[in-house]
């Protein structure tokens, strides 16, 4: 044994080359080993949800710096690094990202940019939101100003994705989210965009509410131009739907006398409340103009043009103001059409007959109240009567053969008188007008058909 101990005492010379070997091993092996450990650590953290991950390996010690999104995610990541083969110890420099309250997020659109701001809970969600924004931006540049923060409300990503989809409908503006409250500001790209966005927001995840919708849409425009030379009505702009479109065309058919309709109306959402009532009312006014333009912009009605005789302009303005739906405004810029050259009785009669061939004076069923839809025709008749001031006008009322003869006679008489009163009120001297009722005595068509009966129910003018 002591012999062995003597040998051991002679083992020291080898320590000198051993030291050299050791230095060489450390010199050549340290950096590659650190690189290998860095790669292994990075691979181990691949599945972890971390932000700003930094791995620094010194020897076999790993310093892990990262922003974690939950306490569990943080400890799991540290454990994963610690279990990498070769790692001696982990220096944990991870930290939880800040928790914010209220949790604010926003998407803003201007002419060339779509900017996402506020907070996102996870990097993956941030990426998804940016991708979605890219899809909805129609080529606008995406600017990411989001920072990561904890504290997002449940289903934040679903809500944010829905809001991003709405950006394509915006011309400019901001949609923001504060916790579960949505605020919208700015203007919609198209007419009806405001309504389309409001409808889409009904699909927000449960618990999310629209706090404020201050979006503006382009003005809702409806325009009708009456051109007496071409005898054309040009309709342009928008109507809310096909039913309203049909109702407007039907109203024009009743109110106007013989004009061709050039219909360029398009259907679009976003019409102001009471659109049909206001448009119908304004069309009544337009029907009484010789030439003119009706413009409805949002809730403002503007009627401009020439009335057919002095006094009509006041009545048109009054009628419009009296029946306007609530919240609407009207402005009538009316001038009087220059009086046409006087004509003799024969031409006067011819003109009146022509007008009555194109249109009908309507009354309420069984009554002698003139339907307001006939105002346009009546104004034209008055204008014609004013052109033959020397002539006497006999207004005769006629009915079909239905019902009691005496009653028909009385009704026809009252209806003729109603027209006469209308004329007198419009400024025709009382002495020039006589009204008679002829009942069903002088039919112009067969009373066997509905069509014939309709033709027999009429008012006739006789110029003397």
């Amino acid at each position: 044994m002591s012999e062995f101990s003597n040998w051991v005492r002679k083992w020291w010379p080898g320590l000198i080359p051993l030291a050299a070997l050791w230095v060489a091993a450390a010199w050549t092996g340290t950096v590659p080993m650190e690189q290998q450990l860095t790669a292994r650590t990075a691979a181990a953290l691949k599945e972890s949800v971390l932000d700003k991950t930094q791995i620094e390996v010194s020897g076999r010690d790993v310093q892990l710096s990262a922003d974690a999104f939950s306490e569990q995610g943080r400890s799991t990541a540290v454990d994963q690094v610690a279990s990498v083969p070769g790692v001696r110890q982990v220096l944990d420099q991870t930290q939880l990202i800040a928790e914010v309250l209220p949790y604010v997020w926003s998407i803003k659109r201007d002419v060339v940019h779509v900017t996402l701001g506020g907070n996102a809970p996870l990097p993956a969600i941030k990426v998804r939101l940016l991708d979605a924004a890219r899809g909805a931006a129609n080529g606008a540049e995406i600017v990411d100003e989001m920072s990561l923060a904890r504290g997002a409300p449940a289903r934040f990503d679903a809500a944010a994705l829905l809001l991003i989809d709405q950006v394509s409908k915006l011309k400019e503006g901001t949609i923001s989210l504060a916790n579960t409250k949505v605020t919208l500001e700015g203007s919609a790209r198209e007419l009806g965009g405001r309504e389309a966005i409001a409808a889409a927001l009904k699909n927000l995840p449960e618990g999310y509410t629209v706090e404020k919708n201050a979006l503006y849409a382009p003005p809702y425009l409806f325009q009708v131009n009456k051109d007496p030379v071409a005898s054309t009505l040009t309709l342009s702009g928008y109507v809310p739907d096909n039913a309203t479109h049909a109702a407007i065309v039907a109203a024009i058919g009743r109110k106007f006398v013989g004009e061709k309709i050039e219909d360029k109306l398009k259907a679009s959402a976003g019409a102001p409340q009471g659109f049909l009532a206001a448009a119908t009312l304004a069309l009544s006014g337009l029907s009484r103009l010789s030439t003119g333009t009706l413009t409805i912009q949002d809730r403002n009605i503007k009627l401009a043009g020439d009335v057919l005789y002095t006094g009509a302009s006041t009545r048109i303005g009054e009628d419009l103001a009296a029946k306007l739906p609530q919240g609407w405004q009207q402005k009538a810029e009316l001038t009087v059409k220059p009086v046409a050259a006087p004509v003799n009785a024969t031409i006067c009669q011819q003109l009146l007959t022509e007008l009555l061939a194109k249109g009908t004076i309507w009354f309420e069923t069984g009554k002698a109240t003139i339907d307001p839809d006939s105002a346009g025709l009546l104004d034209r008749l008055i204008e014609t009567v004013l052109r033959c001031p020397a002539s006497q006008i006999e207004i005769s009322g006629h009915t079909d053969s239905d019902g009691d003869k005496d009653a028909n006679l009385a009704l026809s008489s009252r209806r003729a008188q109603a027209v006469a009163d209308y004329f007198i009120k419009a400024g025709i001297p009382k002495e020039r007008i006589t009204a008679i009722g002829l009942g069903s005595e002088r039919p112009v068509a067969s009373n066997d058909t509905d069509e014939g009966k309709a033709r027999n129910r009429r008012i006739e003018f006789l110029v003397r």
Binding site: V8, R9, K10, W11, A26
Partner: protein, 102 residues
Amino acid sequence: MNYLVAFNWGWIAGAAALGFATGWVSPISRVRSLSRMALRITFVAIVALLAASFWRVLPGRAGYWLDLGLVMFGAYLAGCVAGAWLRYVLLLRPGLPRGEEG
């Protein structure tokens, strides 16, 4: 430790080979023997370094180099023991015909 050995196996094998050679020649070496005191100091120093390694006193690269040095030193010692023992078994055991080195 496994990783360290696996990564540096060439160097450790080299240390073991060096130890084996040193051990092999030590019975016939004419170098000065270490004093008993120097041996004790060496032993205490090694124990202290082992403790430092075990308790991970040195950080980062210094810690790694210490571990590597200790492993290589261990391999060297094992090589020395193996070399000396093999020489004893093959050449120096009583009863064997005397070898040329006497």
